[in-house]
């Protein structure tokens, strides 16, 4: 069965459907590309892809199937997966099911057989854009109307947990504010023996304090950081009181809360090979990234923030820290999955600041 992908600029692609096959309804999303050669399972289950159609630049996807362990959330949030070739006969010792079966199960449309490099080049040159996926039968005259639909700005609300959840551990208590967290952020904390409470994105400061946390982690999440202005005040209060570590969306709202600005990037950073330069050590780390917005570096000057890391290639802000409080952030994903875990030590650094804060508090 064929499916059509129509970009906002009018470009049409026809490919073969290999996931859920929408017959009547259309699927609307923002098309973005990811350059990771492995890790499709993690990517498609990363809540940050909410409302996005992901093009994998590597042409063979699904080679090792889908396994029990590599999900970054229980329910994939992405709108569609676009690949050159889906593997019909996957093989890996952990393989449980084919990628196509997983996609069908979660009602995610998927297209294979299109020139994904051409699509990627369009996005690189013209920026990520809205697109629709429709069946061949859909009347062409409808495209315009369908593309005019709004994607909304409630992505975080949709992927964030509705109720707090407790993941017990013997160590520091960390409140993980869920903008759409990847499972491995939680795991990275649990591995370090933390006692983690995951809370909805809009949890109030008061409610957070009621958990008596030792530190706060703001997670990754989908969409525009400016969609959740209601959280900024909470963040300002948090950083005054608790050691704070922010990842991806967390990094962006942390910047906004401190008076910096964010902007939409042309096509974002999505992949497992982005070099980040640490300005203090002058060392470069290869990082896993997934973001379409970035903190404006010129907006930092008038804040109490300091740029700690930049992207080696386009010099965008990759890391910030607060000059007064033990609060810091990174734009990329130190929890990896997929991609390199060269920066997993950031979790240790965070917990160290948590520990120092405790010692300081004990002295007081």
């Amino acid at each position: 069965m064929k499916l059509k992908l129509i970009l906002a600029d009018g470009t049409e692609f026809i490919g073969d459907s290999f996931g859920y096959h929408p017959t009547e309804e259309s699927c609307l999303g923002e098309v973005v590309f990811n350059t990771s050669m492995t890790g499709y399972q993690e990517i498609l289950s990363d809540p940050s892809y909410c409302d996005q159609m992901v093009v994998m630049t590597y042409p063979l996807i699904g080679n090792y199937g889908v396994n029990r362990d590599d999900f970054e959330s229980l329910t994939p949030a992405l709108k569609a997966l676009i690949v050159r070739e889906h593997c019909e006969e996957p093989n890996n010792w952990r393989n449980e099911t084919k990628l196509s079966e997983l996609l069908t199960h979660f009602k995610i449309p998927a297209i294979q057989g299109i020139d994904t490099r051409q699509l990627t080049r369009i996005i690189r040159m013209h920026g990520s854009m809205k697109a629709i996926i429709v069946s061949e039968k859909t009347d062409k005259s409808k495209y315009k109307e369908l593309l005019a639909q709004n994607l909304g700005n409630d992505q975080i609300a949709r992927v964030s947990t509705q109720k707090p959840a407790h993941h017990p551990g013997d160590g520091h208590r960390i409140v993980l504010v869920d903008y759409g967290y990847k499972k491995n952020i939680l795991k990275s904390l649990l591995k370090r023996k933390c006692d983690v409470i995951v809370v909805p994105y809009n949890t109030s400061f008061e409610e957070i304090t009621r958990y008596h946390p030792d530190g706060i982690l703001l997670s990754n999440g989908p969409g525009d950081p400016k969609d959740i202005p209601e959280t900024l005040e909470t963040i300002r209060k948090i950083q005054e009181r608790y050691p704070l570590f922010c990842i991806c969306m967390g990094h962006q709202v942390f910047a906004l809360a401190n008076g910096a600005d964010t902007e939409k990037m042309k096509f974002g950073h999505r992949g497992a090979n982005h070099p980040v330069l640490d300005l203090k050590t002058e060392k470069v780390f290869i990082t896993s990234q997934n973001h379409g917005y970035a903190v404006k570096s010129e907006s930092i000057a008038k804040t109490h923030l300091e740029i700690t890391q930049i992207n080696l290639n386009d010099k965008t802000v990759e890391g910030l820290k607060h000059k007064k409080y033990p609060a810091f952030s990174v734009q990329y994903h130190p929890e990896a999955n997929p991609g390199p875990d060269d920066t997993h030590w950031l979790f240790d650094e965070f917990l160290e600041s948590v520990f120092k804060n405790e010692v300081a508090r004990a002295k007081v």
Binding site: L60, E85, R117, I286, G339
Partner: protein, 1060 residues
């Protein structure tokens, strides 16, 4: 500006001659690195003994020494030049070992010369198995249980404890020489012994075998700031057990989940950091296909064959960056040379699939053991790029030039299911084809996986190809089906044969339905960054990324994989042709499939198409580029063979016309040509059946040289002395049929002479003439060649020049021409004319300082001797004598007779250059790696016809202090000449016999001219093999023996008593 204030002049050590395990990849990386160092503001001095390289061109480094890569000569250059630093990590194991040798002596500290890009401690830790194991242990990285032994009994103790199978790896050897898998105590004994023999530090590693694990490689780079990145990971389709150089490899890894990818990535980075390597490094790992368990196999702390492959597979120039790191640059300050818009400190990402298939020499060495194991046997490799695995693999298959354009071998078609099942158990060069044939005959993927341990993923991909064949056979050829077939890389020819239609019909059908390939760019970043790198591959997609250029363009065809008979020399000429085209202001486009070479460096040409040298693929590029024409004369026989099919398609062949090429290659026409010109040639005939061959051979008289028509490098050529030999040859060596007759020539004994000339269609330049040391009968590629000739009368040389001019003119040659002569009883005969660049062009270009390929290209494009203000005729001799000596890889190839004959066997060449012939010869032999004994014992066993000559030569060896071992016949002859000889037993006699003498190191040189041929059981064969395997040099020609004594006499002082 140089980064290190005190480093302004550096010496780069090259890798020397091409041998199995160390090939053209070091010309590619070396050339790139030298250019990078110059870019960094350094003065670069190079030492390399291999004249057939771009690296040793005078315009690459600031100063080039083509001298033997031995400690003595390296020291001479170092003392003369006094560089600030030495870079030994770009010249393979050869360079690294040399530098380590000097480091052990404390040379670098003593002389205050820095060893750059390499810390001897690091190298020791990476290469000494025990030290490396300690390093792994200290960082908790897993390694296979093993023991390092320096004697057999320790190996046995370990084997008793661990059990079989085990793998034996000698320390510090090229391509794992002397190692292997063993399944029993007998095998253990044999391989441990040869391993100890081969290891320069007399150590071997005995290790638990993990055959069946996935073999994964990571190419890693690190700088002095400790930035460390992965350039590329690669997965061997062949599981652990086959040397990675002999494995079919894909990039990136295909069957690894991100967890597994990162697990091994982390391990690789941890290792390079712990070792403290600055520059490039290759880490090989074995991953259990059923768990996260893995083992580190080994690291190569330098650029390697794998790094060359990774560079071509990703576009990331590893050698260039490694060279800059060696002189102080860091990854984060260097721009990615491909995109020019991003930095070198990142990890390339691919949006295509790369397949590498090794090219093995078994078509030449029919007796060789084809089994693949830990000892590398391939001479070269091909790489192919596609948007899916099938396409990439099929393109690689047709790049191999092994007589098939599809994943099938004619000989396997008749195999029954049972035979195929049996064949699947063999791990040899044909396994991939056996696998496909097995699937065709209904053997299930499960059975194949169980037998081969090849991952199901790959087997299924091959199955997809077979399924498509079935579809093509049974279904109607719709545009949809056609597109699907083309997308997975099936050729028009295969589609035509399955559909039983003409190939042209398939092509026309495609054209009508617009099913033609587009070209995509290799850009290191999956198009995330804008890039203008002119490096392309074809695929059946939508968007074409090659933008039409209005400039005049010339396409140059490369020479494909390195194989015996068609080596790096042709890549050298190809690169020069491209340079000349660009000098003339035209656009030069290269098509080639060899990842190891300079010609496939994207910086060389205006556009590089990394594509099979297969007519369909080439024609597509021609349709895309619409060039002025195609140059075929630099890419060896590969390119020449494409002249006719291209011409048939209406493509203009530039240079010597197809008709004239044919006149030199078609035997009948060639005979007629020489007759017209009144030029003599040895009497020859053609035969189309065994009976005819016998009759005609009798007519011209034995001995005869017999060979199939249209061959490269004298393949399957043999000297035949009588009826039985001849019939045996006809039965075993060739498939004779009316279309492919055999050629029979009278075997003439005489001096061989060779000339390369350049002709503009009217006038001829002859840069020089070469005289061969070995008599006719030894392939010219295996002979020692001397420039200028040393023993030829002027009258003969004049005649030779005249004949060369006559032939060149008669063939209206435009470009290069190579002519081989034989001087027999003072009469000159023409043996062979090759209307193309030859093996000797780089050598002759270097020694005469005449850039032959460049001039030839300019002639092809319309310049003339006059317009370029050159002088026609034979050019004056140079003051120095230059000797080109062949280099062999016999140690790697079991069951191959090392005796020189009409079939070429050498893999590489070296050059010796000095003021006298003797000195130049001595240097060339040293450079060839021959351990020349200054005194000691020579084991002599010669055929009866050679006895007199041998005795005369032995008298001279005796005077220098040699004594002799010989079997009865030869011993008698030596005794009669009053030479000191100890008689030894023949092989079939009781032990200790002659083999034992060789194996126990009682002889320092072996001279053997016995029973040449393919009979593996013959005494001569066994003695020669025993010599190779014991590391004793073996001479199989008295001409070489005579040359050697000349060199030795010149080098040594004899002693004589006073006459009383």
């Amino acid at each position: 500006m140089p980064k290190y204030k005190d480093i302004n002049r550096v010496l780069v050590i090259g890798s020397g001659p091409i041998i199995i395990g160390q090939a053209a990849e070091f010309d590619y990386s070396g050339t790139q690195a030298v250019q990078a160092l110059k870019e960094a503001g350094l003065e670069v001095i190079l030492i390399n003994s291999n004249p057939a390289t771009i690296m040793t061109d005078s315009d690459i480094a600031d100063k080039v020494y083509i001298e033997p890569l031995t400690k003595d000569f390296l020291l001479k250059v170092l003392y003369l030049e006094r560089p600030d630093g030495v870079i030994p990590t770009l010249g393979g194991q050869t360079a690294l070992n040399l530098a380590m040798e000097l480091a052990e002596d404390g040379f670098f500290e003593r002389e205050n010369i820095k060893l750059l890009g390499c810390d001897p401690d690091v190298i020791r830790k990476a290469e000494d198995r025990l030290l490396f194991r300690n390093v792994l242990e200290s960082i908790g990285e897993p390694f296979c249980e093993s023991v390092i032994v320096s004697n057999l009994s320790d190996a046995k103790v370990f084997a008793d404890r661990i059990g079989y199978p085990l793998v034996i790896r000698p320390a510090f050897t090229l391509g794992g020489t002397g190692g292997g898998h063993v399944h029993s105590e007998t095998e253990l004994e044999a391989i441990v012994k040869s391993g100890l023999q081969n290891s320069p530090i007399k150590q071997v590693l005995v290790e638990k075998s993990i055959a069946g694990y996935k073999e994964i490689e990571y190419e890693v780079m690190r700088d002095e700031k400790d930035n460390a990145i992965i350039i590329c990971n690669m997965e061997n389709i062949d599981p652990v057990g086959v040397h990675t150089g002999d494995s079919i490899v894909v990039a990136p890894s295909q069957t690894l989940s991100d967890r597994e990818y990162q697990l091994l990535r982390n391990s690789s980075l941890k290792i390079i950091r712990t070792l403290g390597i600055k520059g490039g490094c290759n880490v090989q790992l074995a991953l259990d296909p059923h768990s996260y368990k893995y083992f580190v196999i080994e690291v190569n702390p330098r650029v390697s064959r794998s790094s060359a492959l990774a560079s071509k597979a990703t576009g990331y120039p590893i050698a260039k960056i490694a060279a800059k790191i060696a002189v102080g640059f860091t990854l984060d300050e260097m721009i990615n040379p491909i995109t020019k818009t991003s930095y070198a400190c990142f990890e390339p990402t691919l949006d295509y699939v790369v397949t590498k298939i090794p090219r093995w020499p078994f078509d030449k060495f029919v007796t060789a053991n084809r089994k693949l194991g830990t000892q590398m046997k391939a001479t070269g490799e091909v790489m192919a790029i596609g948007r899916n695995l099938e396409e990439s693999m099929l393109k690689a298959v047709r790049s191999l030039e092994i007589g098939t354009h599809h994943l099938e071998l004619e000989k396997l078609k008749t195999y029954s299911k049972e035979e195929l099942l049996k064949a699947l158990d063999l791990i040899d060069d044909e396994r991939l084809f056996v696998l496909a044939e097995a699937l065709r005959k209904g053997i299930t993927p499960e059975v194949i996986v169980a037998k081969t341990k090849i991952d199901m993923f790959f087997v299924q991909k091959i199955f997809n190809i077979v399924k498509m064949e079935n579809k093509l056979t049974t279904e109607n050829l719709t545009p949809e089906l056609m597109l699907k077939a083309k997308r997975i890389g099936i050729t028009d020819r295969k589609i035509a044969s399955l559909k039983k239609i003409k190939e042209d019909e398939v092509f026309d059908f495609r054209l009508k339905n617009k099913i033609i390939p587009v070209y995509k760019m290799i850009d290191t970043c999956a198009s995330e960054f804008a890039s203008t790198t002119p490096y392309y591959y074809s695929t059946y997609e939508v968007e074409n990324e090659v933008s039409a250029s209005s400039k005049k363009k010339i396409i140059v065809l490369g020479s494909g994989p390195i194989r015996i008979g068609q080596g790096i020399e042709f890549d050298y000429a190809t690169v020069h042709a491209v340079q000349a085209i660009r000098e003339m202001g035209l656009e030069a486009i290269i098509i080639n499939s060899n990842p190891e070479t300079v010609s496939t460096d994207f910086n060389i040409s205006d556009r590089l198409y990394f594509e099979p040298l297969y007519i369909e693929d080439i024609y597509h590029i021609i349709l895309q580029e619409k060039p002025e024409g195609v140059i075929v004369q630099f890419g060896g026989q590969t390119a020449i063979n494409l002249a006719e099919p291209l011409s048939k398609k209406g493509v203009k062949i530039l240079g010597t016309t197809l008709e004239n090429i044919d006149r030199s290659e078609d035997r009948k026409k060639f005979e007629a040509l020489l007759k017209d010109l009144h030029i003599a040639q040895p009497m020859g005939v053609t035969a189309r059946s065994s009976e005819e061959a016998l009759q005609r051979a009798k007519e011209i008289g034995f001995p005869v040289i017999i060979r199939p028509s249209y061959v490269i490098g004298g393949r399957a050529m043999q000297i035949v002395y009588g009826d039985t030999d001849l019939l045996h040859y006809m039965k075993s060596a060739v498939h004779v049929n009316p279309e492919h007759p055999v050629l029979i020539d009278r075997y003439m004994i005489g001096k061989e002479l060779e000339v390369d000339a350049i002709c503009d269609g009217q006038d001829v330049i002859i840069p020089g003439i070469m005289e061969h040391i070995e008599k006719a009968g030894v392939h010219s590629g295996d002979s020692i060649a001397v420039y200028p000739p040393q023993s030829i009368e002027k009258k003969i040389l004049d005649e030779l020049v005249e004949t060369t001019i006559k032939i060149s003119k008669a063939l209206e040659t435009k470009g290069l021409i190579n002519i081989q002569f034989i001087l027999s009883n003072d009469k000159l005969y023409v043996l062979e004319v090759n209307p193309r660049s030859s093996r000797t062009v780089p050598f002759l270009s270097k020694v005469t300082k005449i850039p032959m390929a460049k001039i030839a290209t300019k002639f092809i494009l319309g310049e003339t001797i006059k317009s370029l203000k050159l002088k026609s005729g034979l050019q004056p001799d140079q003051a120095l004598v230059s000797v080109k000596a062949p280099v062999f890889s016999f140690a790697k190839l079991v069951d191959v007779d090392i005796a020189l004959g009409p079939e070429m066997k050498s893999t590489g060449e070296v050059m010796g250059r000095d003021h006298t012939f003797e000195k130049a010869l001595y240097k060339s032999l040293l450079a060839a790696g021959i351990k020349i004994p200054q005194f000691g014992t020579i084991l002599v066993t010669v055929a009866d016809k050679d006895k007199d000559e041998a005795v005369q030569l032995m008298k001279r060896y005796y005077r220098l202090g040699f004594k002799f071992l010989a079997t009865a016949g030869t011993a008698k002859a030596l005794r009669e000449a009053k030479l000191p000889v100890r008689e030894v037993r023949k092989i079939h006699e009781s032990t200790p016999n002659l083999l034992d003498e060789v194996r126990s190191g009682h002889a320092q040189l072996v001279i053997n001219t016995l029973s040449k041929g393919k009979d593996v059981a013959s005494d001569g064969f066994q003695v020669r093999r025993a010599a190779v395997e014991s590391g004793v040099h073996c001479l199989t020609s008295l001409d070489t023996t005579s040359a050697l004594i000349k060199a030795l006499e010149n080098h040594n002082y004899g002693v004589e008593p006073l006459e009383s």
